[in-house]
Symmetry: C3
Subunit: 345 residues, 3 copies
């Protein structure tokens, strides 16, 4: 396999070449890399590994040097490495051919851009629109009147129900369900009367949705995920939730109905947020947090019930000490009894 | 778009019209409503918003008045609004035409009612039966000998495996898997020997199952969800679980094997219940509860390990005070030392 | 229905017949069993039920006797019962006929063993290979160059993306997604730059994956699940995770990226493990544990943050006592004040 010059990759990933130019045929971690491969050092404290890696070229931060090696020096080695991976990936991947697979069922009123790719056993209902260069892989379902923008990638077995708005450059992974009914009922004596969920889901540009995640349609208005937010696998987003821009929702997290989440919020795995709360901008929630109250902007919170991370850690440390303090309390009580007896005597 | 008279909607949703009759063309929340729309006020403490809403008609509880406005007065405004939504929804939705899509594969021995709708790329195995007016949307799988009752709605990409019994008026959302093998093994030295799961799943009438949820078949007998229980998205119901009538299981909750849950049990989101427990009737479990012991009827429980909610809150409050009490204990100890020294001296 | 002699079943399940040989037509639990059925007693403390069961034959451990009954005596009654269930199950189940359903789309370059069964609406991409006796049920997707070994059973609506390696005797339940992109981004200012995930997933022989679970492909190298490990429903395995041999991952658990889990690790339901940890061999994690630090081999851990189970229980017990100890501290303080006043006086 012929490769690419390190000088070319340096340009592609926004860095500067140091040392001899070399031919690179692939990428790997510092430890796993073989001759001919490009690797990266994001954390200067691992600089010692620079001596032992077999990589032919390493992306490094500005303050790192390595005698006689080929380096690509950059402000953000992790980002530069991501760009290098993307360069190799795009060079080798086979772009699906545009067109509609003969075994796909497209309603005559649906509009499919000529540059889009529609896979086998895809069903696209009436009035749906699929944008330019979008790829819909096999076995997907696109509901009545739903629009999918340009340059999207929809993996197999995704279902997007009626009336949803999917922006541009969106990736939805296998098995995700967008636009299922919100979980809304009115109590009627002991029984639950279903409230038809007549809203929809809006995913803005550059959103990514993980495998087997579920984003419910709003009861009346929309459920919204704003531009650039990334959602991991098995996440539950309930009806009428709003998630701001450039957020991260890690695996198995859930957000209950009508909660409003600001911009740049980062949620660890298995976080739960109850309904009707307001989470500010730039909030970070530790993995497994259980959020039962609104959280102001610029807060790091964790634990159950979630509180400021510093407070959560202080409580956690106190609980760790508790068994010893209980012994101490009992000992203090004995000493007080002694004192009381002495004073009585 | 022509609409419906407020007087007609009042009858449909079990309320009484007050004020001038008006034409209504849609529904929205109090804040979002536009002229021509119907809205509702469920909580009297929001009555102040009645002045500012643009809604042309508002469903209100009995003790609320609003000079000069068109109101529908009812005992249960939320239920009445749900009925109004249903009325509009039914008026505008397009009922799928009965019949079997040519791109569906139905075993000749399966019995499909003439009024049922079977979508594209649906597979129905031998001996299955599909009832009257039931709609099975594209890309679903119905296993050997499984029966689906009347008036059901099965969304795309649902799989119901062999031998299950699905009642009437059941809704199953996209990606749900009903009847997968329970997670049962016998230990054989270090290895796990799979126990074939030869039971099934029984969903009684009016059950709803959320997107990407999983309800496993019993090991020998059935896994049962009784009449009227509503299950949200990404819920896991293990083998041989029994869930009683008119319950609610919110998103991402899980119930482990053979646990018996009574009637009218409400589970918040991300609740976990371990196996072989007995949860009584009318139990409410707070979000993220971890239930490790059986719970008697009429209990509100929360936390991990779940305990009576009042006790859980008392403990939580105590833990919040703990860092201060630890300081206090240390201060008390110093005072005791002083007292001891004084008495010695 | 004609059945099988108890003497035959005793041989099949590795036990010894005691009492008269009888004809057995099915299996059930001790309480539910009817005449003609085989049942089992795994726990000697339930031996009292031997008197009342209607079962015609019972598998029992070595130290149990029951006058006049037909018993199968064995070292491991649960395992023997599992083998008996398997015997009946195999006798009655209909093996799918080998061959490719006409409504399946197989790339001409894919290699499908002649003894394999490929169901309706399955899509198999270029270069994929499917082994002997493997059954792929309807509506599955097998990606580019992915290999599936011999004797596998892939339930409907499973997606296995490109380049994955699925071993022999593997079972994957409905809706599972194997090989979706790991959740990897490089921060680029406020935005997230997607890192192409160019690794794959390797499932070794005898692995089982539950319904709607997700196992992500590695970023560069593989995500690995070693031989014999059983994964339940709705489980999330992130990129570059390694799970050792003969482990158990119960429902709704999640393992974050690059965490290494040793052999014979048992995870209860809804466990979460953060990324980049090392969990040793023979570790057991209680349900809902939140693991934030590496754990050495041979540890039983639970709680959040997870610690040794004995310590977690001690803390839990201390917290239960805390409200009373807070009262006690306040009472002690009052007594100290009294003592201080007496000494001043």
């Amino acid at each position: 396999m012929s490769g690419y010059k390190a000088s070319l990759l340096a340009r592609e990933c926004g860095g500067q070449l140091q040392g001899p130019d070399v031919e690179l045929t692939g990428l790997a971690g510092l430890k796993e890399a073989q001759p001919g491969q490009l690797s990266f050092l994001a954390n200067p404290s691992y600089a010692e590994h620079l001596g032992s890696t077999k990589a032919s070229c390493i992306i490094v931060p500005k303050n790192v040097a390595a005698e006689g090696r080929t380096l690509i020096v950059t402000d953000n080695p992790y980002l530069s490495f991501a760009k290098a991976v993307t360069f190799f990936y795009n060079a080798f991947k086979t772009k699906p051919r545009p067109g509609i697979h003969p075994a796909a069922i497209i309603d005559p009123s649906a509009q499919i851009d000529k540059s889009a790719t529609i896979g086998a056993y895809v069903v696209i209902e009436a009035g749906a629109r699929i944008g330019a260069n979008t790829v819909i892989l096999p076995l997907c379902y696109i509901g009545l009147g739903t629009t999918v923008g340009d340059d999207c990638l929809i993996y197999p077995q995704v279902s997007i129900r009626e009336g949803c708005r999917i922006g541009n450059r969106i990736i939805i992974h296998g098995g995700a369900v967008v636009g299922a009914d919100g979980f809304g009922y009115a109590k009627d004596g002991d029984k639950y009367f279903k409230i038809p969920q007549v809203g929809n889901v809006i995913l803005e540009d550059d959103v990514e949705v993980g495998a087997n995640s579920a984003i419910d349609r709003g009861a009346l208005g929309p459920t919204i995920v704003k531009q650039g937010t990334k959602i991991d696998n098995l996440v539950q987003i309930a009806h009428n939730v709003h998630i701001g821009r450039d957020g991260v929702v890690a695996g198995q997290s859930g957000v209950a109905g009508s909660t409003f989440i600001g911009d740049r919020v980062v949620m660890g795995g298995q976080v739960g947020i109850i309904g009707h709360l307001k989470i500010g901008d730039d909030v970070t929630l530790g993995a497994q947090s259980g959020v039962v109250k609104s959280i102001p902007s610029n807060t790091v919170a964790s634990g159950y019930p979630a509180k400021k991370h510093s407070e959560a850690r202080r409580r956690e440390a106190s609980v760790a000490l508790l068994p010893n303090y209980i012994k101490k309390i009992n000992a203090l009580e004995r000493r007080i009894v002694e004192l009381e007896e002495k004073l009585k005597g």
